[in-house]
């Protein structure tokens, strides 16, 4: 198959936000695009470079607390990139990436920092670190159940201008006690989540959603052949009882599905 389009995936600050292997999401996106005959380039954008504003997709990964402040300062400095993320490109932001795109984040010492303000959300520290498997039901039509591994200490409150990415079936998610626990945040151009795994490796439908958005919904006619071990991977994680919420949450998840 000949290459139809050039798709450029910018991996932002892999040297600063590389802690949780979220750069694997770029590999998943690129391969799934290539399997459809789309010529794709992964462009690492480390801290000492000027980020290009012309990427189709941007990825922001997870990182430790001190790295977040560095990333905010860096992103704020590059107006072209910021503008691209808000108006032309599609962005996947994971964990620290989710937090820094919000209005504010408060660190563990209680100090409040301004975020990028691209997402209508704010994050405060939670008492216990949320660590473990998560299962959510994705709000995007056709995506279904999401599986991932969370490892964060944030409690993220969503504002009216964003939707949650998923409804929590087991695990913590955004970590704000509400009647109906939610995970992540969603706008037209940004998918933000706490899920690692990397999230797109475990959830190919979410990867394809991002590709469809980035390519203008017109290139996804060719389904890539099934990744051989993915059905078994998803079966294993989607039927695993998460220790944290206990049997009851699992039973609830089963009843709903």
């Amino acid at each position: 198959m000949s290459a139809r389009t050039e798709l450029v995936i910018g991996v932002l600050l892999p040297d600063v936000l590389g802690t949780y292997s979220d750069a694997g999401n770029a590999v998943v996106l690129a391969q799934r695009a290539r399997w459809r005959g789309i010529d794709t380039t992964i462009l690492p954008v480390p801290a000492d470079t000027t980020p290009p504003a012309g990427c189709d997709l941007y990825l922001l990964g997870g990182g430790e607390d001190i790295a977040q402040l560095f990333a905010i300062e860096w992103l704020n400095r590059h107006h072209g990139l910021r503008h691209a993320m808000s108006s032309t490109a599609v962005t996947l932001a994971v964990c620290a990436g989710l937090q820094i795109l919000g209005h504010t984040l408060t660190d563990r010492r209680g100090q409040r920092h301004a975020g990028l303000g691209l997402l209508d959300l704010s994050t405060e520290p939670r008492r216990r670190r949320a660590v473990g498997e998560v299962i959510t039901h994705c709000e995007l039509p056709g995506v279904g159940l999401l599986t991932g591994f969370e490892n964060h200490q944030g409690a993220t409150t969503l504002g009216a201008a964003v939707r949650p990415l998923g409804r929590v079936r087991s695990g913590v998610g955004n970590g704000v006690p509400t009647k109906d626990a939610v995970e992540g945040a969603l706008t037209d151009r940004i998918v933000a989540t706490y899920l690692h795994g990397p999230v797109l490796a475990r959830n190919p439908a979410l990867a394809d959603h991002l590709l469809a958005r980035a390519t203008g919904d017109r290139l996804l006619d060719g389904e890539p052949s099934e990744v051989p071990d993915l059905p078994e991977l998803r079966r294993a994680y989607l039927t695993t009882v998460s220790r944290r919420p206990g049997i009851r949450a699992f039973a609830r998840a089963v009843r709903r599905s």
Binding site: D22, N151, G197, E232
Partner: protein, 437 residues
């Protein structure tokens, strides 16, 4: 040799040389009960017995560890990768002067330390490998003469949360022991930031390949600047944290201290083990042991708790390798023979870390052009990763069944922590059965 390292040889401080019996009848009973439990576990074939034995002792007498350490010079070996190998090399070096207590099985929490010290009451020297998350506790109990700090990178994030938090806790532990000499890796910024809290330090340049966690400054979060060319190991941050000048440098053929080259010829493969050996050499030197004698003793080490062992299994010859995180894989990938069939076994049990995300930081695309089988509890996670890396493979969760899919002859087996131990056990059990014993 202490003069070249700039640190006086360390002698036992609180008591005259020679270990003392654990004080108190209850403590003696606790130690005795642990030894019996360990022996029972071994005879039942359930393990090496060091974990259960140590746990029994600690349950009966929580302060047993400090009692067992009294009067000995204890070296703690910690870090993310290379603990077991380095502690074996160091134990071999120290054993050239007398008996050494050592948790050789790799049981590296307080229970393993207790079992090792209890098993060798007469040894004046002890080499204890300690998990980096337990170093503070064990150090508080044993008041170590030397702490060897190899490297700090991402491993089991679900357990340790952030590398930086682990480093900060270690720093506090080192600050609490001003008499302890810290032998630390000058090439690892996270280690340098941690060891900066220590009063007495011997810096070693090991020349490690992994830089995944080391591109930003652990102190201020800015990006680090690395040297180029011959100064490639040098690094600095604008906040002032910089690579200290090392007293020992691992070069290809040995360790350079000042102008003196101590040749080190290991049977263990890999440049990273050469780096581990120089860390051990520096530690032995702090304890007053002639480095040439230490190097000669280390040359005899060929099998480290089963790692690098070559075992026959039917008409296959397996080389057993352990890699449990991206940094470990970066080193192991360099050891794999081109085109040799490969079995990779991945678990995600508690001791491995539950999160398998780290597989995506391993450059598996380097495995092209050889038969590959993915196995282990998380064979599917590995299989998905291999597919996206463009590596053809077969996925069979059971490692022994997976072996059958590979051609006869030489096979490299790479497994992570619990997968490695499980595989060793199963290979041993099956081969014993086949031999009719």
């Amino acid at each position: 040799m202490g003069s070249t390292s700039g640190v006086r040889p360390v002698a036992g401080r609180r008591h005259p040389p020679g270990p003392r019996r654990v004080a108190g009848w209850w403590a003696r009973i606790a130690v005795r009960a642990g030894l019996v439990a360990g022996a029972l576990s071994r005879s039942l074939g359930t393990g090496s017995g060091s974990i259960i034995g140590g746990r029994v002792t600690l349950a009966l007498h929580p302060a047993a560890l400090s009692g067992l350490a009294v009067g000995r010079r204890v070296v703690l070996v910690s870090g993310t990768n290379g603990k077991t190998t380095t502690s074996h090399l160091l134990a071999a070096a120290l054993a050239s002067t007398g008996p050494v207590a050592h948790n050789a099985s790799g049981a590296n929490m307080a229970d393993g330390a207790v079992a090792a010290l209890a098993a060798d009451p007469a040894a004046e020297l002890a080499v204890i490998e300690v998990d980096e998350l337990h170093l503070a506790t064990v150090a508080a109990a044993v008041a170590p003469a030397v702490v060897v700090l190899l490297n700090l990178s991402r491993d089991q994030l679900d357990r340790g949360s952030e590398v930086r938090s682990v480093a900060a806790a270690l720093g506090a532990a080192l600050a609490a022991h001003p008499d302890t000499v810290v032998v630390a890796n000058a090439d690892d910024p996270m280690v340098v930031w941690t060891a900066a809290h220590a009063t007495r330090t011997v810096w070693v340049s090991t020349g490690g390949r992994w830089r995944g966690e080391a591109t930003t400054c652990p102190r201020c979060g800015c990006t680090l600047h690395y040297g180029a060319g011959p100064g490639v190991r040098r690094w600095a941050c604008r906040c002032g944290l910089t690579r200290p000048d090392p007293q020992w440098v691992a070069v290809g053929e040995g360790g350079l201290t000042g102008d003196v080259l101590i040749p080190v010829e290991l049977r263990l493969p890999g440049q990273f083990n050469q780096g581990n050996a120089i860390m051990a050499l520096a530690a032995a030197s702090v304890l007053g042991i002639d480095p040439r004698r230490a190097a000669a003793a280390m040359a005899d080490v060929e099998d480290v708790a089963g790692r690098y062992a070559v075992v026959a299994h039917g008409d296959r010859e397996l080389r057993l390798l352990l890699a449990k995180n991206p940094a470990g894989w970066a080193e192991i990938l360099g050891l794999l023979e081109d085109a040799r069939p490969l079995l990779v076994i991945i678990n995600a049990r508690e001791a491995d870390g539950r999160d398998t995300s780290w597989l995506w930081d391993v450059p598996f695309d380097e495995l092209a052009d050889r038969p590959v089988v993915a196995a282990g509890d998380r064979a599917a996670d590995l299989g998905v990763r291999l597919t996206y890396a463009g590596i053809e493979h077969t996925t069979v969760p059971d490692p022994l069944a997976a072996l059958e899919l590979l051609p006869p002859g030489k096979i490299d087996v790479v497994a992570n922590y619990t997968a490695f131990h499980q595989m060793r056990g199963r290979l041993g059990a099956q081969d014993r059965r086949e031999a009719g014993t």
